[in-house]
Symmetry: C2
Subunit: 291 residues, 2 copies
């Protein structure tokens, strides 16, 4: 079912590459930015955006620039998270991390670049000004101090500390959740959905983000580096509190089931307004993925 | 003459602090972001924005959000430039650098945060949508791969290499120049100036950026750490090619004079359109500053 969307995921990729290839002021910063973009990745956020547009019966084509922006921000966050001063990871998406290839200074700049250019791309996209501003407000809110960055900070501060379930979930609501919610709400804004629908989609995708993270924690102990394209067992190595360290593998799998039910419940609230089957798909993709 | 503008510079400061203080998702990332903002600095970019508004006879108040955005981006770039992987500086604006106080991980996130929140703040500012989009296009262009970041990258790549005057000037056109041009052009956009005026202001401020950098290089050998609030002699220590290393102190002072004349010539082209005296002021401020 992901194949129906492949065309649009490819367009996202092309748009990002075209944008970054537009100039030659510095071939090095361009090259290192393109390196991480070209590593591919699951593209779960763009897929979410397109599936939400589909559920709203709106042309998928119109999601491309917003999906590109969010994917660029996701990629920048991975480059910075992988830095020696942060998680110090050597592999990402099956390739050496950015700083392993280009050095730390260039990796920091490549991350800064993808963040800046993500908004630059969006500001030139073919949406009307009101939608562009709504999208920029949404995405910078999700990515900044009110979202991902604060989640990442709190995650770092919790290292080697015992934290409880509520604290852990709150970290993930920001660190992972906000940038999972952003493409869903962005699609609703692009499609001109009502505030009610937007609010319900926001709640649904908030739970989906938590579901995504529980699965991520399970994959870190159950997956292989070959499948995941990144090191496994890093949570234990870094003494990170995870759903698995709190509840064990069995407990985390139970929690995954519970959260899946809750995510579906929130989605079903939208059943009279949108074509929810397209978003049910994504729940299975998140729960059953092996990478 | 800077005193007429102090009220507005204070408002910029307040707006940034209010924005960052709005939430408590992570007190640490907020605190470290505020630390670097509160270090003050010369506020030359906000001043340029207000002086251009004055020259265009437009209310200064309306420049506050755009000036705040540009100052936040400038501050983020300093935090990242100071990192051990980059220039590895211990002092900035008379205080310990961000990573010296908060550690590298937090400093990277504080920089990311100020960049993201700068656009978030602007996207909520009290301009109409068309002006907001124009400003976001201008500022992300100046700060990203088409501007500051590529200049910074090329600067790093030129370390320990012999580069000629043309190459050096090209680095500075991007690394320093673009974010000196941005507030001048932003003011013109806010004031609804004609394309002709915007183009002439763009040329003038491009030269002003180079003038600023020549003075910066001179201060690195002639200034004191006490006055500058940052380490001096770092260019020589880092074997950075500068106008001083290329031409000597006397030669760089001659170049400063030459560039001052050229900057004035470009400004005078605007004498029938705007009240250029306010921008003549800024040329003297740049040339005669001791920090």
């Amino acid at each position: 079912m992901i194949n129906d969307y492949q065309q649009y995921l490819n367009e996202v990729d092309l748009l990002i590459k075209d944008h970054l290839n537009k100039n030659d002021v510095s071939s090095k910063v361009k090259e290192s930015s393109l390196y991480s973009i070209s590593a591919g990745g699951k593209k779960i956020r763009p897929l979410l955006l397109f599936k939400t547009l589909k559920a709203l019966n709106f042309p998928l084509e119109l999601g491309v620039p917003a999906a590109a922006t969010i994917e660029m921000i996701h990629t920048y966050s991975l480059i910075h998270d992988d830095l020696p001063a942060m998680d110090n990871d050597d592999y990402r998406r099956g390739k050496l991390t950015n700083h392993k290839v280009y050095g730390e200074a260039t990796a920091i700049l490549a991350g800064d670049n993808l963040l800046t250019e993500s908004i630059h791309l969006l500001s030139h996209a073919n949406y009307n000004d009101a939608i562009k501003i709504n999208l920029i407000q949404l995405i910078t809110n999700a990515a900044g101090q009110f979202g991902m960055i604060s989640g990442q900070m709190n995650d770092i501060l919790s290292a080697n500390k015992e934290i409880d379930y509520k604290t852990l979930e709150n970290i993930h609501r920001y660190k992972t959740g906000k940038l999972i919610q952003a493409p869903v709400v962005a699609a609703a804004m692009i499609a001109g959905a009502s505030n009610d629908i937007i609010n319900n989609l926001n709640d649904f995708s908030g739970e989906l983000g938590l579901l995504f993270q529980i699965k991520d924690d399970l994959l870190d102990v159950q997956g292989t580096q070959e499948e995941l394209g990144k090191s496994v067992g890093t949570d234990e190595k870094n003494q990170t509190t995870t759903y698995v360290s709190l509840f064990g593998v069995e407990g985390a799998m139970d929690l995954l089931k519970e959260k899946e039910t809750e995510t579906k419940r929130l989605l079903y609230k939208l059943k009279d307004d949108i074509d929810i089957i397209h978003l049910e798909d994504i729940i299975s993709i998140v729960v059953n993925r092996t990478k």
